[in-house]
Symmetry: C2
Subunit: 395 residues, 2 copies
Amino acid sequence: MNIKYANRMKNIKKSFIREILKVAQNDKVISFAGGLPNARLFPVKKIQAASNKVLTNHGKNALQYSTTQGFLPLREYIANRYNTVCALNVSPDEILIVNGSQQALDLLGKVFLNKGDYVVLERPGYLGAIQAFSMFEPVFKSIPLESDGIDIDLLRKYMNSNKPKIFYTVPNFQNPSGISYSLEKREQTANIIKQTDTVIIEDDPYRELRFTGKKQPTIASFMDNKSVLLGSFSKIIAPGLRMGWIRANPEIIDKLITVKQAADLHSNNLSQRIIHQYLTDNDIDTHIKLISKTYSYQKDVMIDAIKRYFPKEVKYTTPEGGMFLWITLPDKMDSMTLFNKTVEKNVVFVPGLPFYTDVIENNTFRMNFSNSDEDRIIEGIKRIGEVIEKLQTDI
Amino acid sequence: MNIKYANRMKNIKKSFIREILKVAQNDKVISFAGGLPNARLFPVKKIQAASNKVLTNHGKNALQYSTTQGFLPLREYIANRYNTVCALNVSPDEILIVNGSQQALDLLGKVFLNKGDYVVLERPGYLGAIQAFSMFEPVFKSIPLESDGIDIDLLRKYMNSNKPKIFYTVPNFQNPSGISYSLEKREQTANIIKQTDTVIIEDDPYRELRFTGKKQPTIASFMDNKSVLLGSFSKIIAPGLRMGWIRANPEIIDKLITVKQAADLHSNNLSQRIIHQYLTDNDIDTHIKLISKTYSYQKDVMIDAIKRYFPKEVKYTTPEGGMFLWITLPDKMDSMTLFNKTVEKNVVFVPGLPFYTDVIENNTFRMNFSNSDEDRIIEGIKRIGEVIEKLQTDI
């Protein structure tokens, strides 16, 4: 019995993060690995109240099949929030509800990518996007991130020479680096993309979790009809409901609906209505402030601990929001070697490797600060610092 | 601004059913088109009780990210039910939770299909499978259904000449035809597939909804490790929760997990736990009996009305379970022409066209009996009968 898989399966590596998360399930392990929100901030009782209201008032409809594009009142809410909070001009017809941003990436890969097409993304780049697009066998070209966003000169050069199908970016508190684009680079990026046939996918799940600095406009606000903007309720409400959305022009949305229908007919109807009910009955901005304040404090604790326990040669980003920061070790030091040592001390993070495509930097790693409380952050950083010092002596 | 889509999008037609369902949203329209369960049978209060229990006792966990393979107690329940009800020998490691069977088909297409690979399926065949597999640009070969299942001689011939990657079948109360495989044909099918490298996908969402006849074993029970078996909670609990599963050997499950992770990380965590809680606290068999009894009655009403109001030249299947029956008009009559006339009389069904791939029969259509009550079934059939008679006169 010889089972023959599709050729695309040869390119797919098992997710290293999935393997790390198995280790991290042990309570003894201090994990800076996952991209998990802090569960103690989940509005459990309010979600329960919303669920009861939906099931009491609209139970039969909420449990029946529904439309592929998604629950209209929820699409209206999302469009309206863009229009009031982001100064965009969005209609509910431009919104498709999906199972978290991850599904958005899968559907967009299907709609746009032929084998061998170029995808340009940031270096380091978001692992989930690399995984999703890999299924469609593109060629990745990564462009280095600087402290204020992508290297604009290289972006211009790559756009002209490779004619990519997709440019993928996370402009706010990027996963994995924590870096945000300056206003200038947002506008420059849009202007470069507008002169090409490339579609820009602006993945924006962390936008609302800003700690410091000035709120920046979406790149979409400078774009034309080739802009695809992704959002998610995972970071501001709860990820277990798998609920996100795509905003794009109606022509692209129409293609995405066809593909979404073939992928799973529609997103969970009950959960769409629960989220809409929760948003209707509660002040989401108050909740977002609480999350941002908590994560901001945890970020400060982590950076203070890094300053105290990591050798001064170690570089780190200082994110203005989000859930991650990015560590760069001295050149000769390998983050995978470090990882294998810290696992023995029950501390894990994500080595840089899975965030690279065409160019790899082995001396980097990602740290999540949203899912650990103060004491564990300090203890975990201390243990990692000890191992780094030991490795420095060994080199 | 020239937006360039992937080549696969050229093959994809907009779902005709989706267009019909828009018409059917009008309450005046009697719809035999959708494949919707009867919403008045949804266990709304029990789902609400389950939801409250989950959120009260495990709220934070239920709202957090979870594992890609799915909630272990739910996988254990599914494995155990196969072992007690279907006399299979299934372990929870062989189960992957997905967003309804539709997502199973998408993931299986990704794991197995290269462009140009052969997919063999029944004629008429399930539209959702045709849509999902089409994304991966295979070549479809359809084999006619007889009253007791697929044409075995043709199946043997196709298997040998085309070396298909996938054989896709719905052996119980098939969608769209309502036809079920005899015991003999189940065993013969398995024996033919076992001698090839073809993977069999046995899609089995209606199994539990049997009205009459003897319960039949799964084809999987005669198969080796190349068997993939699909199941769903959509027809026995509620489809709005988008919850189904794949049962396959651990090697295939491992590939599917990798692909599922790239597609949407994992299925809705809260809904998985709600379904598990509901199954734990209630007797699903009592509920299934109620659904089957209701649909069986509706099927009888539909067939009685067909006998009374359709010309005797019109043929129909008499399903032993499920949600659909299949109508064959006299040869020269086109079901799309019929459809365009009955729409004017506020009655809709699904013309046969979308259920065909390589060979098309224009004189057929699908009728759903699960989602209409007695009076509307009789009135709808009467109106369709009148139009058929008028068309007969015109020919």
